[in-house]
């Protein structure tokens, strides 16, 4: 049955991203009033919802603080009701620790940490509903949270998954496609420079197909970056209109 669904999907479009709807946060304190900035974001794609919250502290615990850079901490957790079977251990298990680690590394590469020495930036992501592409949605949500917090970054970090079914690359896999046993590649990209911040691939894929797969994921990420950019600008317009009155 899964094979039929997949065939249908790529008969119509093989590169189309599922419809994504980004909703920027409703609360964000300005930097000068409070010593910390909190900005929750709700990222809602067609089937996955993830709120991401970003907090920046002007100080950091002694043991972990770096003298010339900010330390970025990420915590990834899944709500117990997010998957089909109830999750018994939402955080602390190996998969969540690995995800948190990957998120931290992705953002350490993208955020200009040299501007905040001896500080700490915390990023909390919680998955409300999981339907494939967990890592990508987390990265996108966290990017928007950081943009809303006003933390300077090199570029938007966009992430997307891609898969390979019967010699056709597919972008943005859903849960059924991911667990169907085919290949899945998750890619986090800085679109303007084309630098890959994180590359993660599971399951078997012949070496010759790697090029096409990475290319598909990169194209999807570039399209995603345009969507993110549009949402940020729109939000900025709305906020400026509201604050002017």
């Amino acid at each position: 049955m899964i094979q039929n669904c997949l065939k249908q999907r790529f008969e119509h479009t093989s590169q189309l991203l599922r419809f994504c709807h980004f909703q920027l946060g409703f609360k964000s304190f300005s930097f000068s009033v409070l010593p910390m900035t909190v900005c929750p974001q709700l990222l809602q794609t067609d089937t996955i919802e993830k709120p991401a919250v970003c907090v920046i502290y002007p100080y950091c615990s002694r043991s972990k603080s770096l003298h010339d850079r900010a330390v970025i901490n990420c915590q990834y957790s899944m709500a117990t009701f997010s998957t089909a079977e109830r999750k018994r251990r939402p955080h602390g298990d190996r998969k969540s620790s690995e995800m948190s680690l990957h998120l931290k590394q992705t953002f350490e590469a993208a955020v200009l940490t040299e501007l905040y020495p001896r500080s700490q930036i915390d990023i909390y992501v919680k998955i409300l509903q999981a339907d494939g592409g967990n890592y990508s949605a987390c990265v996108n949500a966290a990017t928007l949270a950081l943009v809303d917090a006003g933390i300077p970054m090199r570029d938007y970090v966009c992430a997307c998954t891609a898969g390979f079914v019967e010699d056709t690359p597919l972008a943005d896999l859903c849960h059924a496609e991911e667990s169907g046993g085919g290949t899945s590649l998750a890619l986090a990209l800085l679109p303007r420079s084309g630098n890959i911040a994180l590359l993660q691939m599971d399951a078997r894929l012949h070496q010759d197909h790697l090029d096409a797969l990475i290319e598909a994921a990169m194209t999807a990420c570039k399209g995603l970056s345009k969507v993110l950019d549009g949402v940020v600008r729109q939000h900025l317009e709305e906020v400026s209109v509201l604050t002017r009155d």
Binding site: L198, L199, A203, Q207, L210
Partner: protein
């Protein structure tokens, strides 16, 4: 115990050497260290030596009820342990980032790639299946734990034999190795991880980094492949920026290395099988040469040494004589002396603030000043 930090001059030396395409032990950029695989007396136990990195892999099996979502498949469980035996930097019972990364990578490389036929591990569907547990212990850490661990795991799995079972109705009889010969696992392919370390913002890469090189690396790319040129997993870590053609180039290098390593594993397995069949002695004790004194012996590093004297002389002649060091303190006023010159004030005070009248209390007697560090005398002094 915290690991001794790497000194700046050592770091600079390593990076400079990498820029000139030289490695500490004389290898080329894409060369692996010597790999030695030895098997123990029991089936499923193997030690892999990658240079001085030593890793032990042990496979064991047990009959358990299967998972509810997959009643006809056996269970594979992977566990990697880092103990202080491997390196003083590893603390016992601590979930460090390295441990999580190694464990997850081992799981992804071996489980998601479906290298073992789990359906063949089923004994009674829905009731009893074999659970295969792979334990990897790091005995010595000299860089590149991931590759050594994956080689150890897949060699141990290929070497392992599980007990034979007979099912009669509802009774399951497990035969001991004396009654019936144990059966090997059915392995489809051998995925092996190859690690690439990136330096200097991704401009230089090295295969199989040793421990010193690992300390100065920017990031790591691990590609797991099998000899049929299928990529089983890719993982980039460390927050480096990669370009697509770098990844493709690494995958080509990995395919070459993996086929060499797979041949090595197969040869070692073949040797072990031959020795066991002929009735000769096998096991770890046999694989260590007895007649040599091994503690003080070091292998010769293949480094080019013919022109060392001339290059050293050149460098010495080219450098300038070191500047005179100021040794004695300069007495500025009663109670204050100055030794050397301080560094530039990095607090970012503007020029105007310093010209304002200073109204600090006279008790403390210290003034922020740009270039000199004042030493306070032990008794409190009244004036600045």
């Amino acid at each position: 115990m915290r690991d001794t930090p790497l000194s700046n001059c050592e770091r600079r030396f390593l990076l400079k050497a990498i820029e000139e395409k030289k490695r500490l032990d004389g290898r080329q950029t894409y060369d692996y260290r010597n790999i030695k695989i030895s098997f123990g007396t029991d089936y499923g136990c193997c030690i892999v030596e990658l240079g001085r990195t030593r890793v032990l892999g042990q496979v064991s099996c047990e009959l358990v009820p299967p998972k509810d979502s997959r009643p006809t498949e056996g269970i594979m469980f992977f566990n990697l342990e880092l103990s202080p035996m491997a390196s003083p930097a590893f603390e016992p019972n601590r979930q460090s980032e390295l441990l999580v990364m190694l464990n997850r990578q081992l799981e992804r490389c071996l489980r998601n790639s479906k290298c073992i036929d789990t359906e063949s591990l089923c004994v009674v569907s829905g009731e009893k299946v074999w659970q295969i547990r792979v334990d990897v212990h790091v005995l010595n850490h000299d860089g590149n734990l991931m590759d050594a661990a994956s080689i150890a795991a897949i060699s141990a799995l290929s070497h392992f034999r599980r007990p034979d079972v007979a099912i009669q109705g509802r009774d399951i009889t497990v035969f001991s190795p004396e009654e019936r010969d144990p059966i090997p696992l059915s392995i489809y392919h051998m995925p092996i991880c190859v690690s690439f370390a990136f330096f200097l913002q991704g401009s230089y890469l090295l295969v199989d980094p040793c421990e010193r090189e690992e300390r100065v690396k920017d990031g790591l790319l691990v590609i797991a492949m099998n000899k049929h040129r299928e990529i089983c997993s890719i993982q980039s870590s460390g927050g480096i920026m990669l370009l697509k053609d770098q990844v493709l180039r690494c995958s080509k290098i990995a395919s070459v290395k993996v086929s060499e390593i797979t041949e090595l594993i197969n040869k070692a397995l073949e040797n072990d099988r031959k020795i066991r069949k002929e009735g000769g002695k096998f096991g770890f004790a046999e694989s260590m040469p007895k007649e040599r004194i091994t503690t003080l012996k070091r292998d010769e590093a293949p480094v080019e040494m013919t022109d060392v004297k001339e290059t050293a002389n050149e460098i010495v002649n080219r450098t300038e004589t070191p500047t005179e060091a100021v040794s004695s303190p300069v007495l500025v006023a009663m109670g204050t002396a100055q030794v050397g010159e301080g560094i530039v004030n990095s607090w970012g005070l503007d020029e105007d603030e310093e010209d304002e009248p200073q109204t600090e209390d006279t008790k403390t007697g210290s003034v922020d000043c740009e270039h000199t560090i004042y030493l306070k005398s032990t008794k409190p002094c009244k004036q600045k």
